[in-house]
Subunit: 390 residues, 2 copies
């Protein structure tokens, strides 16, 4: 039986849809942004904070969790929910992207990836079967197949070879699955080449995966390329199954992908940028370490209802960052995640109301305007990748 | 008019007393442990966390706050309460100890201390008048006079000279006070020399200070010396005024000082040790980074009611510290402060019940037993000083 997924509404002006996933740890309304909790913690926040924020899903990472605390730690207590004191839905990425990011420090073969543990220097194998075995121990509600990621600017031959191996690994992952209560998503690859994306979607959707992810983006591609591939790929995926765009992205990335019919997202940006002192606001990004914030006795975002904006000023946040006080990144992480979750709630409401196309266009225009006028605050897009490396 | 202070009960078996301070930001039940918030933040915690913990007072530091964010930041918004979004009582230390800790990087004269700002390299003067001026801008409920701290192993002549200067500076501070709603405490000095301690208490208590602190301890002295001086000094201070032991200490230090009639305490230990992965528990200190914690699927302290102990295991905390995840120090800070506040609440209840001497003795025995049996966990006392340096 596949992961329950129902569609509640479709936007008449775009391919956006609003729905619900039925995971083993409760329902998840879509479209959904998942908070990145690579090492069984969303950096600096605990499950109570996540509940306060209304965070719908936490995303853990198989590569990092197999190294620390190790699969045995999860087996002992019966999974990540007990381990991290969190009772909501968890998705685990397979480790494919992290293996890719290790570059020269791993060897790839048909069997899997051999790499050296950063914890104790041991050489370890991450194969499709091993990834599923670890994800089974972790007990995530949604598992991902191990995929072979490559740079999106790779040659056509290399992109095809990685895609074909990803397909073989996806089938091995499906065969290795032990617990039917844990959903399994496949990952469409094929780089920036439309033919390969089509072939990948055709191959994978012929098999009983619970959902389909679009992988291999935000790895060297431009925003325009990302939007084109996302849009084309989403259209190739079955209407009845959830679609997940991995590791992407900025609020404009999310709006574009929702217009194309994508249901699920994750990205490290809101928390990573928070640790660097950058906040997403209704009037563009704000770099809190800038001198102009030091005397700004105003909320971080006057239009935001989060605790950080209700209770603290830009001047106080600037002070915390200048002093390297960990309360600064924590308060901005809470704000940035609230900003993302609010965007997703508004988007879902607009889809239900049948006004999403207009909502997204207005939002994209506003962001474009703010990031244009705020040019001196730094580039509108970031070189920081949306996925956490190995 | 002096800071309201009433005594509710006295322990028949010791000099311990339970009372209440009436500050401009609400009542404070004594004996009280104050959370150290040097830079207008208790590291990693926000005022909501402090309210959840029942933290009675936050302790800021004039030296650090004059450098960042600077007095002007407080003047602009009307004080530290608005600045840090906190509405409870605040005590500010004067900066005397921080100037002392700068050692060779400052010059002391009768006027005050000249030192170089770590923010912008400017040379600055911290005089008694300037300290009061800054504390007035900060708007703390209780201000401290600038004192001259010296190593407790200094010569008798040097100790006397520093004490006499501390007295002159105390009177200058009293004259410099601008806002009568902000209480002002003097600081008894005199090192480990009983005659000097007696002279210092006699001099200072002849002037209308709101309370009296015992300074110059936890700076090179042993636990036995600290207990002797604390006990003798507390006896020299007026019964009707609050007594504050600065920068001390471990739970046994607090119990001994309460037996001697001390009402107020602060120490960086619970938060500093938390950032190093050490927790205070009902069965002794626990170093969470130790390998034995990695597979301990049990609460940090089975006898503790704090959120950390109710919701997370030692194994999870070990994992967070091994990964350098900031949630680890945050959860242990919350626990360690809860441990201290619980000790103070129990102590106050025992004083009200007239059973404090027996309570303190049993508690001291238990701690001694745990720290003896847990010898391999490290020394029972710490080399880490209880006050935050400059």
């Amino acid at each position: 039986m596949l992961l329950p997924f129902e569609i509640h509404a479709r936007d008449p002006g775009s391919r956006a849809r609003a729905g619900k996933l039925g995971t083993a740890h409760g329902p998840v309304l879509t479209p959904v942004f998942m908070a990145v909790g690579t090492r069984a913690t969303v950096t600096g926040l605990d499950p109570f904070d996540l509940a306060q924020l209304g965070a719908p899903v936490v995303l853990g990472n198989t590569y990092h969790l197999m190294l620390r605390p190790g699969a045995e730690a999860f087996r002992r207590v019966g999974g990540i929910h007990r381990f991290m004191g969190y009772s909501g839905p968890v998705l685990t990425d397979s480790g494919g992207y992290q293996i890719f990011s290790l570059a020269d420090d791993r060897t790839l073969s048909e069997e899997g990836a051999m790499f050296r543990s950063y914890v104790d220097g041991r050489r370890l194998l991450l194969s499709p079967e091993r990834s599923i075995e670890i994800q089974t121990a972790i007990g995530s509600d949604i598992m991902m197949v191990l995929d072979e990621c490559i740079d999106s600017t790779s040659s056509s031959a290399a992109t095809r070879a990685a895609m074909e191996r990803t397909h073989r690994w996806a089938l091995r992952s499906l065969r290795a699955r032990e617990n039917p209560a844990q959903a399994l998503f496949a990952i469409v690859q094929g780089g920036l080449l439309p033919d390969l994306r089509r072939a990948s979607a055709a191959f994978l959707t012929a098999h009983p995966f619970d959902g389909f992810a679009i992988g291999g983006l935000a790895v060297g591609d431009t925003r325009a390329e990302r939007e084109d591939v996302t849009s084309a790929s989403a259209e190739l995926l079955p209407d009845a199954r959830p679609r997940y765009l991995m590791g992407v992205g900025t609020p404009p990335d999310l709006l574009h992908a929702m217009l194309a019919g994508v249901d699920m997202f994750d990205c490290v940006l809101p928390t990573h940028l928070a640790w660097q002192g950058t906040a997403f606001t209704s009037t563009g990004r704000v770099k809190l370490t800038r001198g102009s914030c030091a005397s700004a006795d105003v909320p971080l975002d006057a239009n935001c209802g989060c605790n950080t904006c209700q209770r603290f000023s830009r001047a106080y946040l600037n002070h915390l960052f200048k002093c390297s006080e960990p309360l600064g990144p924590r308060l901005v992480s809470l704000h940035n995640l609230h900003h993302y979750f609010t965007l997703m709630r508004e988007a879902r409401a607009a889809i239900l109301a049948g006004t999403f196309a207009a909502y997204a266009r207005a939002k994209l225009d506003a962001i474009d305007r703010h990031e244009h006028s705020g040019r001196r605050l730094g580039p509108a897009t970031t070189s920081l990748d949306g996925r956490e490396p190995g």
